[in-house]
């Protein structure tokens, strides 16, 4: 059976659609958003992460490493080094789970088993399962099978997408998803290129095409101070959302800093290290253009 690369399965996920949900995060993303909240979801390969708060500096990882001779210094190993082939010995040796491999190859059945654990909570709350990422459509075959398996068990499904995928792939999951959570970062293509590394032309055209064939879309806008919270940009996004009848809700997701700590744990330098989360005043200003268009808009999921 086909396997997917999963980097997290989050239970009691309360921000990714209606009700109590389980969110399955698939690894790999075509965007490089500078504020990324889930940097561990970007690469399509497995990676090693080090949680500094858990490390007790016992150096069991160093003793377990097959390439110790090539490692300078002493004490615990850093997250990254050139010779690492992700054999996992250091992770197995770590007594505190400070070292972990991000990304696990899982079959549809394995994912389904975890998702079904919380079935009663979905029933009680009108919740279900959300596939997110990264970008789940990067593993479109796996996503399709996983969605079909969930639907087969009567679960409500949602797909959280950045929208950057071949239309045929997006279209192929339309019959299997009860809800799309569709990210819109910028309407301005220049800014989109500057801060996510890619053009938004395909994304926006996918959104419009999706709206013609699917009736339940929530637009999700990460609210990044100084980048997309200026009135012209928010007006443009609200205008777009207001022009699409399938849009049932808009969620403004305030920037938060957890992505920064996560990037460091992956051995990377975060880009927006000094940025502060938006304030209450910023929220009201951001909500206004959406409310003026009669859209249901919420801060958070």
């Amino acid at each position: 059976m086909r396997r997917g690369l999963v980097f997290n399965i989050q239970k009691y996920s309360v921000q990714d659609g209606p009700g109590i949900r389980t969110t399955v995060f698939l690894k790999g993303c075509p965007l490089r958003c500078v504020w990324c909240h889930n940097p561990e979801g970007i690469a399509s390969e497995r990676e090693i992460v080090v949680l500094e708060t858990r490390c007790i500096a016992c150096a069991e990882c160093r003793r377990a490493c097959r390439f110790t001779d090539e490692q300078p210094g002493e004490g615990p190993l850093p997250a990254l080094h050139a010779s690492c082939d992700l054999c996992g010995r250091c992770v197995e040796a770590c007594p505190t789970q400070a070292r972990q491999i991000i990304g696990k190859e899982m079959t549809v059945d394995q994912v389904l088993r975890v998702v079904l654990e919380d079935r009663l909570f979905y029933e009680e709350s009108g919740g279900g399962v959300t596939f997110s990422g990264g970008e789940p459509l990067l593993q479109a075959d796996f996503l399709r099978q996983a969605l079909a398996a969930c639907k087969g068990h009567g679960l409500k499904t949602a797909v959280d997408t950045c929208g950057l995928a071949a239309w045929e792939q997006l279209a192929s999951v339309v019959p299997l998803a009860d809800l799309f959570l569709f990210d819109v970062k910028f309407v301005s293509d220049a800014k989109h290129r500057q801060y996510t590394g890619v053009s938004n032309q395909l994304i926006l055209s996918n959104l419009r095409r999706l709206a013609r064939v699917h009736s339940s879309i929530w637009i999700r806008v990460p609210l990044i101070p100084g980048l997309n919270d200026d009135p012209p940009e928010l007006e443009a996004i609200a205008g777009l959302a207001g022009s699409i009848p399938s849009v049932r809700q808009v969620n403004l997701l305030p920037f938060h800093r957890t992505g920064m700590a996560k990037a460091r744990r992956l051995g990377r330098d975060p880009v927006l290290a000094d940025l502060s989360p938006p304030t209450q005043d910023g929220f009201s200003a951001a909500l206004a253009p959406f409310q003026q268009r009669g859209l249901l808009v919420k801060i958070g999921g």
Binding site: Q10, K11, Y12, S13, V14, Q15, G19, I20, R54, I56, C58, E60, E92, P95, T96, Q97, E117, D118, L120, F121, E124, S125, G127, K298, G300, G301
Partner: protein
């Protein structure tokens, strides 16, 4: 709050708890003068009458609901006939850093000259320790179990709706009828029954006298009062106290005052556990409330003010002082009166009403330590009630706790109660289930499951003292698999439960024979009909509980042993370790073994993660406890049952238990209730709930699950909605109870650093809430350590 109730609340919060020796003096002089004159029940009733006749009447400035157990708010009497405190005990009470009670020199003098000389050797506690066998005392000293009845009387019970229909004169009529039915010709117990019934009758008189003294005092004060408004209030108080408890109440004010007199009667007669409790207060008050609004004699604001005055009365009454192990197992000022909201009516329909909302508003606004409140949530309870309750919980004061009213009914049906009695029941104390007004459900003590496993790993020897306390069940080297180890654990468990239950039965009989509770017996069916005291099996239903502590810890210990010592290496995450080797490392408290300890903490299967590897072991322990305890006869005609709650005993039990295979170091607290080991749950609240629900809660008399949420997760409307659905989901799985601490760890750290500014910080501890700054440092650390389910 009105100005009046704000002032009374402030006074209640600011008055330091103190010991009053008045009761000790009165009870001692009564016993000295009357020893040998009456049968035991009548002696107890006459002693109660003496107290009601002579104790100081307190009627405070601005009060509307009147009456105190002591001579003033927060002045706590002692019960030397149960526990005769030594001078040393009193000095410790005065000086200990937590849950202190001020003791003045006159009190010490009275104890030295009068109280101790009379009661030493005569108190229940002294006689009990004289009677109990040495094996019981050794197990008790080792911290295998505690004993509830060594400092406080059986109690634990709750009132139903009978006082709202009947006055003391009506009860006296019932008692007279019961006496007239006695058959001295044929019934060998006729004399005993008549003495019991006589004692009940005297107790009714005593309470009426107590109320009449309040009425007289109110009239005196009214005569001297110059402010017309207060004079009017005092006259109204006098009228109320002239009506109740003698006659059934006619209005809202009388109903509240009547209950309060009953409360004071019960907690003055004896110091029973969990004080006393009005039970379904919203249901009981509803007719008076609606009638008052309809005939214009009551406004919602007046009802609210009276209820606030009523709540403050509970807060004026810190628990009777406890010392030694009992102080450690229940280290709190709270006395566990736990008002039930919502629930079901006896006909099975929804019991919530407008007073439910009113009481929730009051809890929200006043956030007093006492009384506790809980929501009895049934399938029929509207979401509006649940959300209102969760909004109050969301403020972070820990109230109300949430109970599954449907499971509470099922639990009672399993125990053989009638459907109507079960529905009229509810929960009291921490999480205990009972048929209100009709049951003696008595907790006997906590039981340290983890300590029993420690003894099993040492062939019956307690490694702390090197004493052979349990049977020889095999050296660790002899166990070839977990089944063999578990069989040995089971033998040790049975051994110590036999010791505990034999001791409890002895103590139960001592209370039945020497320390009846005539006034409480008036209030609990069917004591009058049977002519038998509450403490002797007079109640319609009798159940006796042992509270199991450390379920999460022992599960994780067994899981770690299975994984580290018995599983094939390729299966588990750990290095294969021989069990004797593991035990040696435990004996050394993991000294120099931090890597192994961390592996045991982090790399083994843990309870609380919806992981069947661990949860199956939890079930095995639970079933063993249930099978060893449930259905054994108690000494009042009822049965022993299990409960899964710790109060603060998991801290004490941890302090006497060495390092264990779950990676816990010696002396650290055990897990509490049925919650996972602090920090062991890593898959969020749904996984904790799934794990906890694998146990059959319906077979227990109560389980306690504690979840800590950060405010961010619940303070939005969608967050509240999903939180409510989470609770409904747990209850759909037959979960018995869940409570939430809504607080940030950094707030708690600030409170530790600056207690002065955080005096009003109340947190959920375990079945009850307490002032954070009053908790022991270990318990403070533990509350902080409990997994904070931060936002995702």
């Amino acid at each position: 709050m009105t100005d009046r109730t704000a002032k009374l609340r402030r006074q209640s919060l600011d008055t330091p708890p103190s010991i009053s020796c008045e009761r000790a003096r009165l009870i001692t002089e009564f016993y000295q003068a009357n020893q040998g004159r009456y049968s035991t029940p009548v002696m107890r009733a006459m002693a109660f009458l003496h107290l009601c006749r002579h104790k100081t009447i307190y009627l405070g400035e601005d009060e509307l609901i009147v009456g105190e157990r002591g001579p003033a708010p927060k002045a706590v009497p002692t019960f030397p006939e149960l526990t005769c405190h030594s001078l040393e005990d009193l000095k410790i009470l005065n000086s200990r850093p937590k849950t202190w009670y001020r003791v003045d020199d006159s009190c010490l003098k009275l104890y030295e000259e009068v109280v101790i000389p009379y009661w030493r050797g005569r108190s229940m506690r002294d006689r009990m320790f004289e009677e109990l066998p040495s094996e019981w005392k050794e197990a008790y000293a080792a911290g295998i179990f505690t004993e509830f009845m060594e400092q406080r009387a059986p109690g634990h019970t709750v009132l139903d709706d009978k006082i709202y229909r009947k006055g003391m004169v009506d009860f006296k009529r019932d008692i007279a009828a019961a006496i007239s039915r006695l058959d001295f010709l044929r019934d060998p117990e006729a004399y005993a029954k008549r003495e019991a019934l006589k004692s009940f009758d005297i107790a009714c008189d005593a309470l009426m006298l107590f109320a009449a003294r309040h009425a007289a005092r109110a009239r005196e004060m009214a005569a001297a009062e110059t402010r017309p408004q207060r004079r009017g209030e005092l006259l109204r108080i006098a009228e109320v106290c002239e009506r109740v408890p003698a006659q059934a109440p006619r209005n809202f004010h009388e109903a509240l005052q009547y209950y309060w007199f009953c409360h004071l009667g019960v907690i003055t007669e004896l110091n029973g556990w969990d004080s006393f409790n009005p039970g379904h207060l919203d249901q009981h008050l509803l007719p008076f409330y609606r009638q008052g609004l309809a005939d214009g004699s009551l406004t919602p604001d007046q009802a609210r003010e009276l209820l606030e005055c009523f709540f403050i009365k509970f807060n004026n009454h810190p628990a009777p002082p406890k010392v030694g192990v009992t102080a450690a197992e229940s280290g709190t000022y709270t006395d566990f009166a736990n008002i039930n909201l919502g629930g079901l009516l006896p006909d099975g329909s929804d019991g919530s009403n407008e007073i439910t909302h009113l009481l929730l508003d009051i809890v929200d606004e006043m956030h007093l330590l006492q009384p506790s409140t809980n929501l009895q949530l049934s399938r029929k309870t509207p979401d509006a009630i649940l959300k209102h309750a969760l909004q109050v919980v969301g403020r972070g004061y820990g109230f109300p706790s949430l109970f599954n009213a449907d499971a509470v009914v099922e639990e009672q049906l399993r125990q053989g109660k009638s459907l109507e009695d079960a529905r009229a029941g509810g929960c009291s104390g921490c999480v205990e289930v009972g048929a209100f007004g009709k049951e003696a459900y008595i907790l006997t003590g906590y039981f340290n499951l983890v300590k029993v496993l420690e003894l099993t790993l040492h062939n019956g020897v307690d490694p702390r003292t090197a004493k052979q306390l349990g049977p020889h069940t095999g050296d660790p080297a002899a166990f070839r698999n977990l089944d063999e180890l578990f069989a040995a654990f089971r033998r040790q468990l049975r051994h110590f439960l036999d010791i505990k239950i034999a001791g409890s039965r002895l103590i139960e009989r001592m209370y039945a024979d020497h320390m009846p509770a005539p006034f409480l017996s008036v209030l609990i069916d069917d004591c009058i009909q049977k002519g038998r005291d509450y403490n002797a099996g007079g109640a319609r239903y009798n159940n006796t509980f042992i509270q199991m502590v450390g379920l999460g810890s022992i599960t994780d210990c067994l899981s770690a042993i299975q994984q580290a010592c018995f599983d094939p290496v390729e299966n588990g995450g750990g290095p294969r370790l021989a069990l004797p080797d593991l035990v040696r490392r435990l004996d050394a408290n993991f000294e120099g073994d931090e890597v192994l300890r961390q592996r045991l903490v982090n790399r083994t299967h843990k309870y609380g993660n919806d992981d069947d590897y661990a949860d199956a072991l939890m079930l095995r322990v639970f079933e063993a406890c249930f099978e060893e305890v449930d259905g054994r006869p108690d000494a009042r005609g009822g049965h022993y049952r299990v409960e899964m709650l710790p109060t603060t005993c998991h801290v004490y039990f941890g302090s006497v238990t060495g390092a264990m295979p779950d990676g816990r170091k010696a002396g650290r607290p055990l897990s509490e209730g049925i919650s996972p080991v602090q920090g062991a749950d890593r898959r969020g609240p749904t996984a904790v709930i799934k794990s906890a629900a694998k146990m059959d809660h319906v077979k227990t008399g109560g389980t306690l699950l504690n979840l800590k949420f950060s405010p961010g997760l619940v303070n939005t409307e969608p967050g509240l909605e999903k939180w409510a659905q989470l609770v409904r989901s747990y209850f759909r799985m037959d979960g018995h109870h869940v409570q939430f601490n809504i607080v940030r760890a950094d707030t708690l750290r600030q409170a530790q650093a600056d207690p002065e500014s955080h005096r009003d910080l109340i947190v959920r501890v375990a079945g009850y809430s307490d002032y954070f700054c009053d908790l022991s440092p270990e318990l403070q650390e533990e509350i902080i350590a409990r997994t904070e389910h931060a936002g995702f």
